[in-house]
């Protein structure tokens, strides 16, 4: 099984590079439209958000399908979300602002959608930094998990960043919002359901409803 997972990871690694390759080709061949830099910046942002949501869908998918091996793909997907977020941020800092730091600073302070985008990115950094096996060991599983719960607020802020950027038509950000709500809602629901189950299991047997067994003759 481990060998299959390794093969799968290699395939996935290449697949995740495809959007970046497409943008690279688009810049090279000038097929990104009239405003290629805007198309590139926004496209990279879309993919950062796509990978974030794909990463967040691993746990629900694993639970629904029972395929526990899915969990072993999660780190790579999360790191791709970070990689695309880095490219997205670089496109903004370089191609949009040309590293004019005073202008960038003003943008972050004055413009809510930039503030949100930057916040989401900064929250993503510790998650990427603690993604190695060594860091997991160092932090201990429990603490590591606590740190990585940052992904929930981070994803909400990222969707907000997209929503606030849009002028009037929020159809696309709304789709991201709905998908995120489902992914987080499932977790909440399962948490509630599991807690209830644990509670019921912890009760003394006499409180349990006795279901009479009818035997058929």
């Amino acid at each position: 099984m481990t060998r299959h997972i390794e093969t799968l990871k290699r395939i996935l690694f290449v697949l995740c590079l495809l959007p970046a390759a497409r943008f690279g080709l688009g810049v090279w061949q000038d097929t990104l439209g009239a405003n290629p830099i805007e198309a590139l910046t926004r496209g990279l942002g879309d993919w950062a958000l796509n990978f974030l949501l794909i990463t967040l869908s691993v746990t629900p998918l694993r639970r629904l399908s029972g395929w526990t091996w899915l969990g072993r793909l999660r780190r790579m997907l999360g790191l791709y979300a970070f990689a695309y977020a880095c490219l997205h941020l670089t496109a903004y800092l370089w191609l949009d602002q040309f590293f004019e730091w005073s202008e960038i600073g003003r943008d972050i302070l004055k413009r809510p959608f930039i503030t949100a985008g930057m916040t989401a990115f900064l929250l993503l950094v510790p998650l990427a930094a603690t993604s190695t096996n060594g860091m997991i060991r160092l932090l201990g599983g429990r603490r590591w998990q606590q740190v990585h719960r940052l992904v929930y607020p981070l994803a909400m802020i990222a969707v907000l960043h997209y929503t606030w950027m849009v002028k009037v038509d929020v159809a696309r950000p709304a789709i991201y919002g709905i998908v995120l709500a489902v992914l987080l809602g499932l977790r909440l629901w399962w948490r509630y359901a599991d807690a209830r189950q644990a509670f019921l299991a912890s009760q003394p047997p006499r409180l349990k409803r006795v279901i009479p067994i009818q035997t058929r003759r």
Partner: protein
Amino acid sequence: MRLAGAAVAGLALDARAAEKLAIQVRSAYSTEETPTPYRHVTGYNNFQEFGPYKEDPAELAHGLRTRPWSVIIDGLVQKPKTLAIEDILKLAPIEDRTYRLRCVEGWSMVVPWLGFPLSALLRQVEPLGNAKFVEFTSVTQPDVMPGVRRHTLPWPYREGLRLDEAMHPLTLACVGLYGEVLPNQNGAPFRLVVPWKYGFKSAKSIVRIRYTETEPLTTWNALQPDEYGFYANVNPDVSHPRWSQARERRLGEFFKRPTQLFNGYADQVGQLYAGLDLRKHY
């Protein structure tokens, strides 16, 4: 980046079947700057009636019915008038007016528009003494305009100018571009072009012009007054709440260029705003 080279190639590939429009007068108001390639001018548009994305108008505007077309001129006038587009086209010699266009979103182009001064059209009626503004109303054809069906904005699209702005020789009654009649996605068959203001002031596919005494309620201004003022003069020193207006990206260029006050038309229009606080009246 091979933007420039590819843009030229793209121009040659355009299969144009549009009706030609002869230029009768070369205008001194035209800029010598290189026009933005035809495919960008006609493929990267904000025309919210057809959708929120820049590619939507080029894709969907073919359904727009531009004939028969007439423009009502009414409001505070002696005698309201309805003009057929055929007559509007004959009102004045068609001039070539290559203008810079600066969008409030931070990009710009250079467009070789065709048209004549709007004043020639406005003079077709006699305004009353108390008329101070003009309001422009764009067409709504819900069956071919998905944006209108989805109520993305309060339709119809409305814009407005102060009367002296509307009468200014730079203000263009536009009926074409690149030597042909206006493509639908650019606001056929008749639109406004006000080159020193952000693009949204230049209403497309106009069906009604109304003289008013008070400042007309314009679409974007009514929707988000802190983001889109009534004047909307291009001004690098007054930022939009969501981005700076200090620089702009000219389509086809890699580096951003500084935005000019009144989009570079300060010499011609500056005196219109003498004494007006441009930070307050943005």
